[in-house]
């Protein structure tokens, strides 16, 4: 993706459809004709009840799963027909993914976990090490370079996952329920970090069923039964003190 051309949305999806067919059960229409467009630098939250299909949509946008039909453009390039290998190369350099269950490689140290994408992208080991050190510093994880994921708390693991996702300065950061396995302290940390990176210009797509997390975003897309039901930009509404969660979403009739 070329940063020299800041025009055009980073993500544009048209008519994405995905149906899961588990063995011996009825097919599940996870994503039913979704149109979506995300601009550079936006912090988008995708909310909805569990089972709505949010994670599936995120997987489609990250190339972790293939849509049954529809088109997808990432930074002007049409990517829905990409092979798995090409998607992998795209993900290396331009997309970072953070999962609910951290998904760190269990037998690699924290340092190795974070450096792996950098090495994949072709950077030299020394450079990878510098980038890693910087990032871990920023995330408050200095001193944990040689621990394995099993020795860290949930919040620390998620921060390592975040570092891994951001080490290649991706154009797009996808976060799938990043605080789903964390306690309130961990949740606050993750929110703070996401906000910080967003301020530096990182485009973030956050999937969450927690409305409080969603409120940290610029734009909230509501998802229900595989379709987008609302797309609201926060910040238009006047700030009210002690605003409740219910005020975030306005259902259009």
């Amino acid at each position: 993706m070329n940063r020299d051309e800041p025009s055009g949305p980073i993500v544009r999806a048209a008519g994405l459809v995905k149906t899961h067919r588990p063995e011996g059960a009825a097919p599940v229409h996870a994503v039913r004709g979704v149109d979506l467009s995300i601009e550079r630098g936006e912090f988008v939250a995708l909310t909805g009840p569990s089972g709505a299909g949010k994670s599936t949509l995120l997987h489609l946008l990250g190339g972790l799963d293939r849509p049954d039909s529809g088109s997808l453009w990432l930074d002007g390039r049409q990517v829905d027909a990409y092979s798995e290998a090409r998607w992998a190369m795209l993900r290396r350099n331009h997309i970072g993914v953070v999962f609910q269950f951290f998904n760190l490689v269990s037998n690699l140290t924290v340092a190795d976990n974070v450096e792996l994408p950098a090495l994949l992208a072709g950077r030299s080991p020394r450079q990878a090490r510098t980038d890693r050190a910087e990032l871990l510093d920023e995330l408050g994880l200095t001193g944990k370079e040689n621990s394995t994921p099993g020795e860290l708390s949930g919040g620390e693991q998620q921060r390592v996952a975040l570092a891994r996702a951001l080490v290649n300065t991706p154009s797009l950061l996808l976060a799938d329920e990043p605080a789903g396995s964390l306690d309130s302290k961990g949740t606050k940390e993750v929110l703070r970090l996401l906000a910080r990176f967003h301020q530096r210009g990182q485009t973030i797509l956050l999937v969450t069923h927690d409305a409080r997390m969603a409120s940290a975003a610029d734009r909230v897309i509501s998802f229900f039964d595989g379709q987008v039901v609302d797309d609201a930009h926060l910040g238009d509404a006047p700030k009210r003190p002690a605003a409740g969660v219910a005020d975030v979403l306005k259902l259009k009739g």
Binding site: E84, A88, F99, L108, L116, P117, L120
Partner: protein, 783 residues
């Protein structure tokens, strides 16, 4: 590249014990296969063994007396020579029958270094005692073993040879790697002192020279023969024989052995490949989650496949190299027959090539299994989904629920369900464990078949333990003497060589027993020969003539035709099965069927086969016979091919050891997979209320059930396969189908019980450790 290297390095560091174990297991399997091959080479080709041990000569040139045979030593291709020996051609009378044997006597003062005769009885010639110089001392002769067998001679006997005034005394019998003696076809070899040769009054036609040439490269044989003929002149050369002829002549009887051993070897290789392949694919399956994470980070499927293949192939190469190196360096130091076999194998031709083939074969098989597993790994979706959600579930079957209701220990029930819940995966595990057990059963079948040869020879066509004949007693006296012995029954017999249409070699026509008292042979197809002109043939003969039971066969004996009706097939272990047996009366009738008037008394049988009463000891029977006859009777033991096949016993033991090792590798894989699968349910099991001991029992019983199923399948299939395979080999080698014997049910039960016990024991420790693991405190532990 860098990322792949980083991941591989970290993976090896994290899983170091498993990696070391895999490399060691591969090394162990390679070592076993190489040692087994050495044993096979040692046992399967006795001719090659004799050739190598005696440092044999590839070409034997027989010339006239004055030819400069020694000049052949100067040829470039010749590495060493045996001789040249001065020779005298002579004849000896041969019993049974009146044929005469042609012998070539070689004058050798001391045992030659090249083509050294290997003494099997008696001793070599001694310059002092065997020269016959002193009064009363006879000149000594050493016979080659096939000649000694045909002449019924052993050390201490005296023989009469044409051209020698005095009798010669046999001082020793020796084995060589030359073409074996066949009456009427190939002359036999014997050695005397040069002085003895000088003393003979053989004419110039009967004197000659013989030289044996050992070549640097056996492929030069034909070329060297040409050179020799050119150098010496074709008129000077009387005969040429090569190692190829000797090998072909010797190979007749050993086909069964070679085939059986080849079969075993192939089976072992297959089992080893399956074991290591299974271990690798199971380990890769355990890393599925890691693989999808790697893909999510940005590894392409091709990179993932290449990483795994490189890792496991590298370990395999390391293991194989280690195993091959250890075998080469330490192999000869192993005590017993294995060390001998290794030392011999080094010198055999094709040794280096075979080592490379086996090492390469192991690596290739492992590589293939790894590629398959890695390819499957490459197809894992990049979405690290919680695996618990994707495992196919199902209601507990009615049987399970009833069992739980009947207070069967829940551990057993859950173990059963866990073992057989997923039919595809569990049948793969059962099949992998069943293969080594199947092969072990086949090895046991071979062992039992061999036992049958030694303990019940009457079932395989060898009812007579002893054969007797006499030169001095006349037939009536002999019959009286043998009839008076209570513990044996004597059957008269005669054996002649016959020609059959379309074949250049001869077959053996044997007449045993009379119509009144037929010989108890082992007829496996059809019926025994009763009436006139009926006969029973061995499989080798039927194959040779392309005949079946029920056909009429024509053969020529000493110029006279015989026509026989083949009414049955018997197991014939001598002469490659190319034997026709009929009654003595039929044989004599055919012989007397010419213009010459028959003598009043029927011609005497050549020998008597003595069938001992069950339980009688052959040695004591022989002693009592020689005592009763006052030494005028010659009795010897009928050769039992079980002696030839005794190598199969040693090889079976070796093979069972190799297969046990392979089975243990498989078991380790199965146990590991079982523990990993059950660990996911650990929390659930604890919540239900099972104690850690019960949870351990669940895992152990799951493994035990899989092993039980594998053992039952393996032994059942193994019994069927062993019978079929051994009969197949028997048929192909000319002895005939019907030799196979099933292993005793008790032994099979023992194998099953031992297998299940070993499996349960191996599973206890890992299961106990898994059951007592700390409760997972984060969801990642369960995925």
């Amino acid at each position: 590249m860098r990322a792949a290297a980083r991941w591989t390095q970290a993976h090896l560091t994290a899983h170091r014990p498993a990696a070391v174990l895999t490399a060691l297991a591969t090394a162990g399997i390679t070592i076993s296969l190489l040692l087994a091959t050495a044993l096979f080479a040692y046992a399967a080709d006795p001719w090659q063994r004799a050739f190598t041990q005696s440092s044999g000569a590839h070409v034997w040139i027989h010339t006239q007396g004055g030819a400069p045979a020694g000049s052949l030593a100067g040829l470039d291709e010749v590495r060493a020579t045996s001789g040249p020996f001065r020779t005298v051609r002579t004849t000896a009378s041969l019993q049974p029958g009146d044929s005469r044997a042609t012998l070539e006597l070689r004058g050798a003062a001391k045992r030659p270094a090249t083509a050294a005769p290997q003494i099997v009885a008696g001793r070599w010639l001694d310059a002092h005692t065997d020269a016959g110089a002193d009064a009363g001392a006879t000149q000594g002769i050493v016979l080659e073993s096939s000649v000694a067998r045909a002449m019924w001679a052993k050390p201490g006997d005296t023989i009469v040879l044409s051209g020698f005034a005095a009798h010669l005394r046999v001082v020793g019998v020796a084995d060589t790697a030359e073409v074996t003696f066949r009456a009427g076809e190939t002359p036999g070899v014997a050695w005397v002192l040069p002085a003895t040769l000088d003393a003979s009054d053989a004419g110039r036609d009967e004197r000659g020279r013989t030289i044996g040439l050992q070549l640097g490269d056996p492929a030069d044989t034909d070329y060297v023969v040409q050179r020799a003929v050119t150098r010496l002149g074709a008129d000077q050369i009387t005969d040429v024989s090569t190692w190829r002829q000797a090998k072909a002549a010797a190979e007749g009887g050993n086909q069964l052995l070679g085939r059986l051993l080849g079969l075993f070897g192939l089976g072992a290789l297959l089992a080893a490949a399956l074991a290591v392949g299974g271990a690798i694919s199971t380990r890769i399956r355990g890393h599925l989650r890691d693989i999808s994470i790697l893909k999510a980070i940005g590894f392409t499927p091709g990179q993932v496949v290449r990483m795994f293949v490189a890792l496991h192939l590298g370990l395999a190469l390391l293991g194989v190299a280690l195993g091959a190196l250890l075998t080469q360096v330490v192999g000869t130091l192993v005590p017993g027959r294995i060390g001998e076999a290794m030392a011999l194998w080094r010198q055999l031709p094709g040794h280096a090539w075979l080592t490379l083939v086996i090492s390469g074969g192991v690596v290739a098989f492992i590589g293939a299994a790894t590629c398959l597993a890695a390819w499957r790994a490459g197809r894992v979706p990049p979405v690290p989904v919680a695996r618990a959600a994707t495992a196919a579930g199902g209601r507990a079957s009615a049987l399970t629920r009833r069992a739980l209701g009947l207070r069967v220990p829940p551990a057993l029930v859950l173990g059963w369900r866990g073992a057989f819940h997923r039919p595809l995966r569990s049948s793969a595990a059962v099949a992998r464990l069943a293969v080594p057990l199947l092969l072990i059963t086949i090895a046991l079948g071979a062992w039992t078949t061999l036992d049958r040869f030694t303990s019940h020879p009457e079932n395989v066509g060898l009812p007579a333990a002893l054969t007797a004949r006499s030169d001095t007693l006349d037939d009536r006296e002999l019959r009286q003497l043998l009839g008076s012995q209570r513990e044996m029954t004597a059957y008269p017999g005669a054996e002649v060589q016959a020609l059959v249409p379309g074949q250049t070699g001869t077959i053996t026509l044997r007449g045993l027993g009379t119509d009144a008292r037929p010989y108890p042979g082992a007829v496996v197809e059809g019926r025994a020969a009763h009436g006139p002109d009926e006969a029973v043939a061995g499989q080798g003969l039927l194959d040779l003539l392309d005949a079946r039971v029920g056909d009429w066969v024509r053969m020529t004996v000493a110029g006279r035709p015989h026509v026989l009706h083949i009414v049955g097939r018997s197991i014939e272990t001598s002469d490659g099965g190319r034997v026709v047996s009929t009654t003595l009366d039929t044989l004599r009738e055919g012989a007397g069927d010419d213009a010459a008037p028959r003598a009043d008394a029927p011609p005497r049988p050549d020998f008597y086969q003595l069938v001992l009463r069950p339980g009688a000891d052959p040695d004591s029977a022989r002693e009592s016979l020689s005592k009763a006859s006052g030494g005028r009777l010659e009795v010897r033991e009928t050769p039992n091919p079980a002696d030839q096949l005794s190598a199969v016993r040693a090889v079976s033991v070796g093979l069972i050891a190799v297969l046990t090792l392979i089975g243990l590798v498989e078991l380790a894989t199965t146990v590991g997979a079982g523990v990993r699968d059950r660990s996911r349910d650990l929390l659930a099991l604890r919540a239900v209320g099972l104690t850690p001991r019960q949870i351990t029992a669940v895992i152990v019983s799951a493994t035990a059930f899989i092993t039980l199923a594998a053992a039952l399948a393996g032994t059942t299939l193994g019994v069927l396969a062993s019978q079929w395979l051994i009969n197949l080999q028997g048929r192909a080698s000319g002895w005939g189908a019907g030799i196979a014997q099933r292993p005793a049910p008790g032994i099979l039960l023992l194998v099953i019980v031992v297998a299940v016990l070993i499996a349960a024991t191996a599973a206890v420790l890992p299961a106990a450790r898994a059951a007592r693991r700390r409760l997972a405190d984060s969801a990642t532990d369960l995925l």
